[in-house]
């Protein structure tokens, strides 16, 4: 076994609480599949046979069921407490005992058609300590419920510095952490004289990590997040020479045992090459750079790489906007028929080929469904019109409703004649409206982008 796969599915989905307050994030339906199905099927597709899933108690059962029914992966589910405020690195540290080889860490919210071998190949070819996946950021085109106008560009950008080949990761910083200046050591520039700084990238949160990194994590308990702390730390460490020695001096107060352990792990993380490989490198005329006479990698032992997807699909479903966008594109990722055979669809209804209809759905006469996802056991009654929307499971949409660009969560009921545009209807809500007769007179209250909760 070369790599062990770990799926991180314990996140709360804090950036889309509107959706996740009722459904755990890994189970959010996208194209009628739970979110976590996507990374799992990605792993299965490239030939993984086992997987470690880190999730919360809440979602454990569902995830287990899913793994058994939908995939052939041999699961190992580890639960962490949701309220423990564990970061991804903490979670990795938590399962240290289970990890025997290098690891591939995937977040449960990744939906991508990336060729995973590109990332793993970088890891193998360069004997890297870390290799990761990034993608060009996508513009979300759809209008998002509860969000007026365009999202402002004021979000903090990530600065990612890569070398001329575009693979070696040299620099990483978030705009928020930089004060007035972006500072780069000259010694780095001397080794990699042409650095490309990219800002329009999203991190797919897919990492290949050396086994030694896990040990390093075990020693450095202060690191709690992979993306926020571990990765920048590794990127920086590529260029610090005496990391193991300085520890001895800088921490004289700590007890000897701790210090030794620290030194060892740092050494370990650094000397990733074994002796034979080193010999091979010394004897080989191969080099990773040109322009000077130094050996490959300038003698550095710690190397970080990144594969940047130029095209293709890569989404992290961590916001409402991404959720809607992912639903729109998800159907491209699986081969199953868009309309489940168990669905009952009246012949006189219109169902667009770009829609997904779940199991046991009922679509009545003259109803029309376009560019939408309809979850399992949902009933759509006569003359209802649904465009550009996501309808989850067990929803009832009564006669003559007009739903556009909205998200309707599970078990909600939309009463007859409602006209809903760009709304989010919460779990088990009932949207009632004035009878159709008055509709023409009373201005429709739901045409503004708004979130509908119990108050309605």
């Amino acid at each position: 076994m070369e790599l062990q796969a770990v799926v991180m599915a314990a996140g709360g989905g804090s950036r889309m609480m509107d959706l996740t307050y009722s459904i755990p994030k890994p189970l959010l339906p996208i194209g009628n599949k739970p979110l976590i199905w996507y990374p799992l099927s990605l792993l299965e597709r490239v030939g993984f046979e086992e997987v470690i899933v880190i999730t919360t108690k809440e979602a454990q059962k569902e995830v287990q069921k899913l793994l058994l029914t939908e995939t052939k992966l041999k699961p190992d589910i580890v639960c962490v407490q949701e309220d423990a405020d564990m970061g991804t690195a903490d979670a990795l540290r938590h399962i240290q005992q289970k990890i025997k080889t290098d690891v591939l860490v995937v977040s449960c919210d990744l939906i991508t058609d990336a060729a995973l071998h590109e990332v793993v190949d970088l890891f193998r070819v360069h004997n890297a300590t870390l290799s990761m996946l990034m993608s060009k950021a996508h513009e979300f085109t759809e209008t998002v419920p509860g969000q007026k106008g365009k999202k402002k560009a004021g979000e903090q950008r990530d600065f990612v510095g890569v070398d001329d080949s575009g693979k070696r990761l040299l620099f990483m910083a978030n705009e928020a952490d930089l004060d007035e200046d972006l500072v780069i050591r000259k010694s780095i520039m001397r080794r990699h004289p042409r650095m490309h700084i990219k800002t329009g990238l999203v991190d797919a949160h897919l990492y290949c990590l050396k086994r030694s990194v896990i040990d390093f994590l075990a020693e450095n308990k202060s690191i709690s997040s992979i993306r926020g702390e571990l990765v920048p730390c590794l990127v920086r460490k590529q260029f610090s020479k005496f990391s193991s020695l300085q520890k001895n001096k800088e921490e004289p107060n700590q007890n000897m045992k701790k210090k030794d352990a620290n030194t060892n792990s740092e050494n370990h993380i650094a000397s990733a090459d074994d002796d034979l490989l080193e010999l091979a490198l010394n004897r080989s005329c191969w080099n990773d750079h040109r322009g000077d006479m130094c050996g490959a990698y300038h003698g550095g032992k710690l190397r970080c790489y990144v594969h940047i997807m130029e095209e293709g699909m890569c989404y992290r479903v961590n916001t409402l906007a991404a959720y809607i966008e992912a639903n729109r594109l998800a159907s491209k990722l699986f081969e199953e028929p868009a309309i489940h055979p168990s669905a009952v669809i009246s012949e006189r209804s219109v169902v667009g080929s770009d829609s997904i209809i779940g199991t046991y759905c009922q679509i009545a006469e003259k109803a029309s469904v376009k560019r939408s996802t309809i979850g399992a056991s949902t009933t759509i009654k006569e003359k209802a019109k649904i465009t550009n929307s996501i309808i989850m499971n067990g929803v009832t949409i009564e006669e003559g409703c007009n739903i556009q660009g909205s998200v309707i969560c599970s078990h909600a009921t939309i009463c007859r004649g409602a006209d809903i545009k760009y709304c989010l209807v919460g779990n088990s809500q009932r949207v009632e409206l004035a009878p159709r007769t008055t509709e023409e007179i009373v201005p429709l209250p739901f045409t503004d982008p708004a979130l509908i909760y119990a108050s309605f």
């Binding site: 007035e180 972006l182 780069i184 001397r190 700084i197 990219k198 005496f242 020695l245 006479m293």
Partner: protein, 677 residues
């Protein structure tokens, strides 16, 4: 139909504007002193051809039809040279107009004059008279014009760079630059010289543009060729404080938001372009020339079309002019260029060298990386390595020139002498400069006679230049009035300095006296500082020299007290006590980075004289570091850059010192790491 014709006519009209160039045949600095005292830099021979000829050839071959040559220092000589050259023949495709003025003090003055005289009509090329290049700027010019057309008057300048990785020999530390650019538009966002910097800082606001891809490039060599719009000259007029192109670039980049002007860059991969800005570059460009990297500008091409410049090219890049005679057993190994009518004796070994015309070289001479100009006599048994010998130099028997020696015009050295590394000998006395003061730019023929009278009064030192030698040793002296605290470089392009002795001896004894009294009467450090300050004014000593003297006096103090036979251990103990006691005095004088460097240099100088006490040096450094008088970064810089002689190199191999430096390195790495976190 008529409209089409009209448009065509209009665009044609634009295209037909002849391409103009501004060639600045003056460097406005003294880097080539004392060589450039006798000959302006633009006329110095590089591979036996005056440098300005390369620049003009480059301009002509790239399509320039009209060149304005601006001369200041020794303008007559440049004018004379150009009038004789092929550029001033009526058939020349490139019309050369010479403009001389003694009032030019900088590039800024030249461009302000360009603006005042309204010389340029459209985009022009700006170069210095010491640029050697074969770059075809057509492509860059086209891009420049397209940018100008697309966005009217936004882009004012396109700088031309050559890609060359760090550590390439055509890159010298002094001219290293870092450029931040926008990958898509090729706009320059940040341009900075990196000499002496450890961390490169880029202001965040340069990344605020719409683009999401930037490049930070440290692999660029500035060719000092720029395509400028006429606006550049106007901008120089508007901003009378712009002196150099560096000022201009910085001004444009900083005020981009206000003025809306932008600078772009063009990177050539295969062209060659470099400015001979110091002798290190002279060495690099000369050897590139002989090795044919600047093809089609090669020595045998004789592009200047001058009689007597012809030479033949044979394998291993050996070039011989007409009438060269080579003695029995002499060997020209590789990369050798020999000018007309030069005779070489028997059993010589010559490699990687350029020899001018009418030279005589004796028997058993070894030349490696030697640049011998015209009419030089080298007697038998001489050994010359990486040195420059100007016209009319005589090297007597069995003289050895170590690396980076310079013998200026008509100097005689030897016999039987070895000049240490980095020796500069000139017929001009170094002190002449001070006497001439500012006038030297203005007059040069006028007071020559009086100068010569003066120089004759001073005798040549036989110990320095040999029994039959003629010439004065030039020591690189730091100038205190340079702007921006720039380290002044010696001719060869490396940083170094040394104290001038003499006047300071008195001051030194005074300081010693003060400190002794301070010791005996237990005077407080504040009062000591006060006394030293008053001495400083009394003797008109610069702050820098105060520091050097103070360091020296304190280091010698134990010897003064206990006699010179003091053992290292006792010396060390005494000295450390003194350092601790007088730390406030040091802190008062040693504040900025250059101060600390000076301090370290005097420290080194002292210990070079006291070899037996090297063990104490580490302790002193450690103490000064712990007293916060010296910073680790500067100690490191001193350790890595400050090598001036073989002995100081040896000093740096002292195991104690190495250990200390290693310790510092680790500490530093840790701290820089913590910065990042």
């Amino acid at each position: 139909f008529t409209a089409v014709v009209a448009i065509k006519w209009l665009t044609d009209g634009e295209e037909e504007q002849p391409l103009q160039a501004v060639l600045v045949a003056d460097s406005f600095n003294r880097r080539f002193f004392p060589i450039s005292k006798d000959q302006p830099r633009a006329l110095l021979p590089l591979a036996n051809v005056a440098m300005i000829d390369y620049t003009l050839e480059f301009l002509t071959s790239t399509g320039v039809q009209e060149t304005f040559v601006f001369c200041c220092w020794m303008s007559n000589k440049i004018k004379e040279h150009l009038l004789k050259s092929k550029w001033c023949r009526p058939t020349s495709p490139n019309v050369v107009r010479i403009i001389t003025s003694d009032l030019y003090r900088s590039l800024g003055d030249v461009l302000r004059d360009v603006d005042a005289k309204a010389l340029v009509r459209s985009d022009f090329i700006l170069v210095y008279g010491d640029v050697v290049s074969n770059i075809d700027v057509t492509q860059a010019l086209q891009e420049h014009r397209q940018r100008r057309k697309a966005e009217k008057n936004i882009s004012v300048m396109t700088m031309i760079f050559k890609q060359s990785s760090p550590g390439h020999k055509s890159r010298c530390e002094e001219d290293d630059i870092i450029v931040a650019m926008d990958s898509k538009t090729k706009r320059v966002l940040h341009y900075q010289r990196t000499q002496g910097l450890k961390k490169l800082q880029f202001p965040m606001n340069i990344f605020h543009s719409v683009s999401d891809e930037f490049e930070i490039r440290y692999d660029l060599l500035d060719c000092h060729i720029s395509i400028c719009s006429p606006q550049v000259a106007e901008l120089f007029t508007d901003n009378f404080d712009y002196q150099t192109r560096n000022d201009f670039v910085r001004g444009i980049l900083v005020n981009e938001e206000i003025l809306g002007n932008q600078i772009h860059l063009y990177v050539t991969m295969d062209g060659y372009g470099a400015r001979v800005s110091n002798l290190l570059m002279y060495d690099a460009v000369s050897s590139d020339m002989v090795r044919r990297w600047i093809y089609p500008l090669t020595p045998e091409a004789n592009f200047t079309d001058r009689k007597g410049q012809e030479c033949t090219h044979s394998r291993h890049n050996v070039y011989r002019g007409a009438g060269v005679s080579l003695g029995h057993g002499s060997h020209m190994a590789e990369n050798v260029l020999i000018g007309r009518d030069t005779s070489i004796g028997a059993n010589c070994h010559i490699s990687n060298s350029v020899i001018g015309s009418n030279c005589t070289i004796g028997d058993n001479v070894v030349l490696d990386r030697a640049y011998v100009w015209n009419g030089v006599h080298i007697a038998s048994g001489a050994v010359i390595r990486q040195s420059v010998l100007c016209d009319g130099v005589k090297v007597k028997e069995r003289v050895t020139l170590n690396r980076q020696c310079v013998l200026a015009y008509n100097v005689v050295v030897g016999p039987d002498i070895s000049l240490p590394e980095g020796t500069v000998v000139s017929m001009h006395h170094p002190d002449e400069e001070d006497e001439e003061d500012e006038d030297e730019f203005l007059s040069d023929g006028a007071d020559n006679s009086s100068n010569q009278a003066k120089t004759k009064l001073k005798a040549f030192s036989a110990a320095e230049v040999g029994a039959e030698g003629k010439g004065y040793i030039w020591r690189p002296v730091k100038q205190d009035d340079t702007e921006d605290d720039e380290l002044v470089q010696c001719l060869w392009g490396e940083t170094s300095s040394c104290i001038t002795t003499g006047v300071y001896a008195v001051f030194q004894t005074e300081v010693l006296g003060t400190l002794q009294r301070g010791m005996e009467e237990n005077i407080s450090c504040d009062n000591l500082v006060l006394e030293i300050n008053s001495l400083k004014y009394a003797y008109n000593i610069t702050l820098k020299e105060v520091m050097q003297v103070l360091m020296r006096v304190v280091l010698e103090f134990p010897f003064q007290q206990q006699g010179p036979q003091l053992a290292a251990v006792q010396y060390c103990a005494l000295l450390l006590r003194l350092l601790k006691k007088w730390a406030p005095v040091f802190r008062n004088y040693v504040k900025r980075a250059p101060d600390q460097m000076d301090c370290l240099e005097s420290l080194e100088e002292f210990f070079l004289e006291h070899e037996t006490h090297w063990g104490a040096m580490v302790k002193v450094l450690m103490e000064l570091y712990q007293l916060d008088i010296l910073e680790e970064e500067l100690i490191m810089r001193w350790f890595s850059d400050g090598v001036t002689s073989a002995k100081s190199r040896q000093l740096r191999k002292n195991p104690g010192l190495l250990k200390f430096i290693q310790w510092l390195e680790e500490a530093e790495d840790e701290s820089s790491e913590e910065d990042g976190q």
